[in-house]
């Protein structure tokens, strides 16, 4: 059953990836601007441009070009940047670790703050903690994260001088590297923490009213055991989906956070590439982030069925 589900999901994944690559390739194909002219530069003659055009296979039919791009992608060849002439794959891979580091650090921040705040809110419903965390959660969803990042820099880097202003060039296991991660992770994680907190709260509220919790209490179990063992396990099921969805959301959010903290990641690369109309670079980085997003969602779905066997995707 489970194995069948995973195989089926895997085939769906492949179809989806084909769709994504087609959409991304088509977008760049219809985008204005002739690649040959861009590569040749402003001083090139028409015959130079024609030569480059022939060389790149830009005169071939659309589907042939798409096929060639896909076979390249499968071999780790995403083409060359118009701007730097560097291989796109190489450029992305040198920046990818930073993006991943940022996304993982942020999801850790978001899960810890979100789950703890949500649960405490639920077990002390309508207490001052609950009210203030609900207000914070609403604010967390509404704060533009680029602005939050700027304000955090202003407070902790400019005024208090406790943490660095930006960059993410030190290894994460050194004190310097960790310090560099703190502000970006909080900046990016706050919105997700708020969503996770709201979800944990409502899910926990539902579970602690259930019969089996009353039974557990009636058995004379300590309140701590009831909440953190019996209730938590059941309350976490919907929360995991929210966490999974948020991981994807964070991957998108890194684009902005990298810009705020001048972190050399894939997102910043993408923004620069869009501004410079460097299509192979845009294509490659969008493809990578979208693929990761889809993979994360698939993993969340699979974890979901493991935790809650009642769920099936038939």
């Amino acid at each position: 059953m489970m194995a069948g589900m995973i195989v089926r999901r895997f085939f769906q994944l492949i179809l989806l990836l084909v769709g994504i690559s087609f959409l991304v390739f088509t977008s760049m194909y219809i985008a204005p601007g002739d690649p040959a002219t861009i590569i040749a530069g402003p001083t090139a003659s028409q015959s130079d441009i024609d030569a480059i055009r022939e060389d790149l296979g830009l005169n071939d039919p659309f589907l042939v070009q798409y096929g060639r791009y896909i076979s390249g992608v499968l071999h780790g060849d995403l083409g060359y940047s118009y701007q730097t002439k560097q291989p796109v794959w190489e450029a992305i891979m040198t920046r990818f670790p930073n993006t991943l580091k940022l996304a993982i650090a942020s999801i850790i921040v978001a899960v810890i703050i979100g789950v703890v705040a949500g649960i405490i809110s639920a077990i002390r419903q309508n207490s001052w903690f609950d009210v203030s965390s609900t207000v914070f959660a609403l604010a967390g969803i509404s704060i533009p994260n680029f602005w939050l990042g700027t304000v955090l820099i202003l407070i902790f880097a400019v005024n208090l001088q406790l943490l660095p202003v930006g960059g993410l060039d030190q290894p994460f296991y050194t004190a310097e590297g960790l310090k560099q991660l703190v502000l970006p992770a909080i900046t990016l994680g706050t919105g997700s923490a708020a969503m996770i907190a709201r979800m944990s709260r409502s899910s926990m509220l539902e579970v602690i009213r259930a019969d089996f919790i009353r039974t557990a209490r009636a058995k004379g179990l300590r309140e701590r055991t009831v909440i953190w063992v019996h209730a938590l396990r059941n309350a976490m099921i919907p929360v995991i989906t929210v966490i999974g969805l948020n991981f994807g959301f964070l991957l998108g959010g890194t684009i902005i956070t990298e810009q705020v903290f001048a972190i050399n990641g894939v997102g910043r690369l993408m923004v620069q590439a869009i501004a410079a109309r460097d299509f192979p670079m845009v294509q490659g980085s969008v493809l990578l982030v979208a693929t990761l997003f889809v993979l994360v969602n698939l993993i969340v779905d699979i974890i979901y069925t493991f935790i809650d066997p009642r769920i099936s995707y038939d």
């Binding site: 219809i30 204005p32 602005w147 509220l205 969008v286």
Partner: protein, 301 residues
């Protein structure tokens, strides 16, 4: 016989209209009981007023430079929110920025709704189109929203109008799913089958009888989407992909202010608060509307 039927339907229609009016009134009453939603409504009203009366509310020309009054702090004489590095009055820029953010929000949400409603109705009503349309929707869902918007900006080029279009496309998949779900839930009800038996055209059934049933979830979605759209437009402008200088757009103002954080933090703080208030307002009103339109929902959750 024929006139009798007409009178009857006339009666029924009038009754229905009264019932609908009553429903609107109860919804509004319930919404007004929600304190947060009322705060949100007030903020939205202020933004709308600022947007409409921008030329009268602004004390200065929002893009006119005055280098002799550059980087004045808040509560300066004649510039109560201070000035930026070019000596432009920040209050006036905020007021015009309210107009930009509201217009971009409305345009992108409307475009997204049109696309989403049409796709959702077609997918829900015509079985043959369902598979194809929903696969396209799934494909759009495979992109984190901001990424999809950036891909579209990469095609169309930077600028505010392109940002609005990019954000609208990102609303389509969610909206299409909501509408499709509503259509499927009413499609086989007796009154729809009766309309078909009476020979009503598909277009008439969809527009007059199915669409009104989807209205509540669409209204909630649109309100929440305004928050996302305004936030995303500001983010894209912050990244330099949206409004270009000297346009008084809030996100672009924050980006410009970052370089002056040491000397003039108000250049970044003020527009940030503006964005936050507006996004917060649309979020809480959306939440409130959802609770008000669906009496079965537990308000505590």
């Amino acid at each position: 016989m024929e006139t009798g039927a007409a009178v009857n339907t006339g009666h029924a229609a009038a009754g229905l209209r009264r019932k609908k009016e009553k429903m609107y009134i109860t919804t509004i009453k319930r919404l007004l009981k929600n304190k947060l939603a009322v705060v949100g409504l007030v903020i939205i009203a202020i933004q709308v007023l600022m947007a409409i009366f921008a030329p009268w509310l602004a004390t200065h020309d929002p893009i006119k430079q005055n280098l002799s009054a550059a980087e004045l702090p808040v509560f300066s004489d004649g510039h109560w929110l201070g000035t930026d590095n070019y000596g432009r009055d920040i209050w006036s820029r905020i007021v015009y920025g309210a107009r930009i953010s509201l217009v971009v929000g409305i345009v992108s949400v409307s475009l997204g709704l049109i696309g989403g409603v049409v796709l959702g109705l077609l997918a829900g009503y015509y079985r043959k189109l369902d598979g194809l349309i929903m696969r396209i929707v799934d494909l759009l869902f495979a992109f984190p929203g901001i990424l999809l918007a950036m891909l579209i900006i990469a095609i169309l080029g930077t600028g505010l109008i392109n940002v609005a279009i990019a954000i609208s496309i990102w609303s389509i998949p969610t909206c299409a799913r909501i509408v499709r779900g509503s259509v499927l839930s009413v499609k086989n009800r007796e009154y729809i089958l009766a309309m078909k038996a009476l020979g009503a055209s598909n277009a008439r059934i969809i527009i007059k009888h199915i669409l009104p049933n989807c209205l509540a979830p669409i209204i909630v979605f649109a309100t929440m989407r305004m928050a996302t759209a305004i936030l995303s437009a500001a983010s894209l402008s912050y990244l330099g992909l949206g409004a270009q200088p000297p346009t008084p757009e809030w996100g672009a103002m924050i980006a410009a202010g970052q370089a002056f954080m040491w000397t003039s933090p108000h250049m970044t703080v003020v527009p940030g608060i503006a964005i936050m208030l507006v996004v917060f307002a649309f979020n809480v009103v959306g939440d409130g509307l959802r609770d008000a339109l669906d009496p079965n929902m537990d308000i505590n959750q």
